[in-house]
Amino acid sequence: MKTADVLGTAVGNTFRSRTRTILTILAIFIGGFTLTITTGLGTGINQYIDQTVAGIGAEDVMTVTHEQADAGLDSGPTEYDPDAVELNGPGGATAPGRSAIDPITADDLDMIAGIDGVESVEPSKRVSVDYAQVGDGTPYTMSVGTFVPGMEVELAAGSQPDLDATANEIAIPVDYVEAFGFDSDADAVGATIELGLTDAVGGTHVVDAEIVGVSEAGLAGSLGASPNPALTDALYEAQQTGAPAAQAERYGSAIVRFDPAAGDDATQALKDDLADAGFAATTVEDQIGAFKTVIDAIVLVLNAFAVIALVAAGFGIVNTLLMSVQERTREIGLMKAMGMSSGKVFGLFSTEATFIGLLGAAVGVGAGMAVGLGLGNVLATTLFADLPGLMLFAYEPLGVLSIVLLIMAIAFLAGTIPAARAARQDPIESLRYE
């Protein structure tokens, strides 16, 4: 028998006992549907996280600090270090209960720059403004994000702050648009914003900047406004006015650029080198990775339930096909008497099982995607209206394909039991009659 005929015959046989086939398909449907929903959820959330990553910082960047003093929970009280407290951040004081970190000095920057794999190093300038004001309007407090090279903001209007511009540019969060009295997001673009801040000796400064963009709220929406480097420098300079010279060249952290294309091993080697020199380095991936691991773990557990449902459906296939083999004993015997090989008989029944799996998978995955995407759309405009860009369910073609293939594989495995029984059948026993 030709392979095409084996397939055709198997597909035809699938519909011979329609009710039984439909019930089996229904069982697979439930498993396939669940697996599609849970996988879609995982993909959707992780895609959203990936989008947000771009808003936090580029992937060729790592944040480098001095390694935290061994102040683990079990090592008792940390010894007082006047230097550390005094120098931690521009504001001066460390939050109570948090252990202090040594500052990054100019010497440290030189040392980091000398490490293999470091393409460039810049100090991370932390700035905090007292208020932000447009024209004569009400002043509002505003947090200004730390500049990270390669940072991208998810925009509601306007453009990204220009990293190379000499003029001060800023992207403000979308919440401020109405507060500042703008008619629309687009209306805010091009306006001038005044940022007021206090320096080290209590003097006040005002720095002007142009609003070039309006950023969407996101998981990273708490980052606040995004300045370009020119603005960060201007704010930092104003903030450091009157500070003792010793403090001017000290930063909480440094930003190192590296080449992520060199591979994970190279990145790890760089981290190890930095660690040997007494620095701790975190990439954006490290920061997001932990979050993703949790999501992946939850999805994995949900998927496990779906797979259990599929395995149960697999027993349904075993049962259905064993019944078919029983019913078709004579037919199988006749085919073997007519020279059909055992292998082809096996192929006939395992193909039938796989086809039942394909039908169940097609219906289950189709329905799962429809429900997921429908639900995602509804939720995007209701529950998650404040998190633009969040589609709770997302599907990648490869992911969907692998669900279908997984279900077909389970169906095939289930089919091997009845198929083997059919293949073993003795034509004489099947054709015996009185």
Partner: protein, 239 residues
């Protein structure tokens, strides 16, 4: 002299082992000649079907051997064995073994499908076989919708669709009334006569056996020399 289609030499077949061992055939030798019609007769349980299964290479003898066209059949394995079964033999059983839900044509072309014949060629040959049995107009009907006599004609069409050298018929008329039974007989003998297909008929029907060129009689797993017995009886009567 041409090689016989089938030869059997001292064929023995036992079922079971030890205490439950049953010798269904106890040493049978004969040959089936090209183009003849041969009747295998005997009472129920005498071993006729067992013998036919061995001849059709569906089973292996416990001892002795079967030669197909002069070649020992035990040499045939796997694909070669399947090819021999598919191309050499056609089967007509007492029960029809048609797949009820499928069309008459689908049922008839099953051996061709197994042989790997292409779709168009299958249909052509299937229709030709049906036409030969005056069933061309029933090709699209479901097999289950036919009468007993029509079903047995479909079975014969299926048996001859792959141009077999030999057709085995195991009680071919056992399930039919005498009128349809004799028309089925007619068809089988016509095939034997006109197409030279060797015919092996297993039957306990005296009339059917009498129409065959030759007969062998099985009793308790052994061949009986019927003519010799008849002579002996005659001799006794004469004495």
């Amino acid at each position: 002299m041409t090689t016989p289609v089938l030869q059997v030499e001292d064929l023995r077949k036992s079922y079971g082992r030890g205490a439950t061992r049953f010798d269904a055939l106890k040493g049978v030798s004969f040959e089936v000649r090209q183009g003849e019609s041969l009747a295998i007769v005997g009472k129920s349980g005498s071993g006729k079907s067992t013998l036919m299964h061995l001849l059709a290479l569906l089973d292996r003898p416990t001892e002795g051997r079967v030669l197909l066209h002069g070649e020992p059949a035990e040499r045939l394995q796997g694909a070669a064995l399947n090819r021999a079964r598919n191309k050499t033999f056609g089967f007509v059983f007492q029960q029809f073994f048609l797949t009820p839900g499928q069309s008459v044509l689908e049922n008839v072309i099953l051996p061709l499908k197994i042989a790997g014949v292409g779709r168009a060629e299958r249909k052509r040959r299937g229709m030709a076989a049906l036409a030969q049995l005056d069933l061309a107009d029933k090709a699209k009907n479901k097999a289950s919708d036919l009468s007993g006599g029509q079903k047995q004609r479909v079975v014969i069409a299926r048996a001859l669709v792959n141009d077999p050298a030999l057709i085995f018929a195991d009680e071919p008329t056992g399930n039919l009334d005498s009128a349809t039974g004799s028309s089925v007989e007619e068809i089988l003998f016509r095939l034997n006569r006109e197409q030279g297909i060797t015919l092996v008929v297993v039957t306990h029907d005296e009339d059917l056996a009498a129409r065959c060129d030759r007969r062998i009689t099985v009793r308790d797993g052994l061949l009986v020399d019927v003519d010799a017995e008849a002579d002996a009886e005659l001799g006794e009567a004469a004495a």
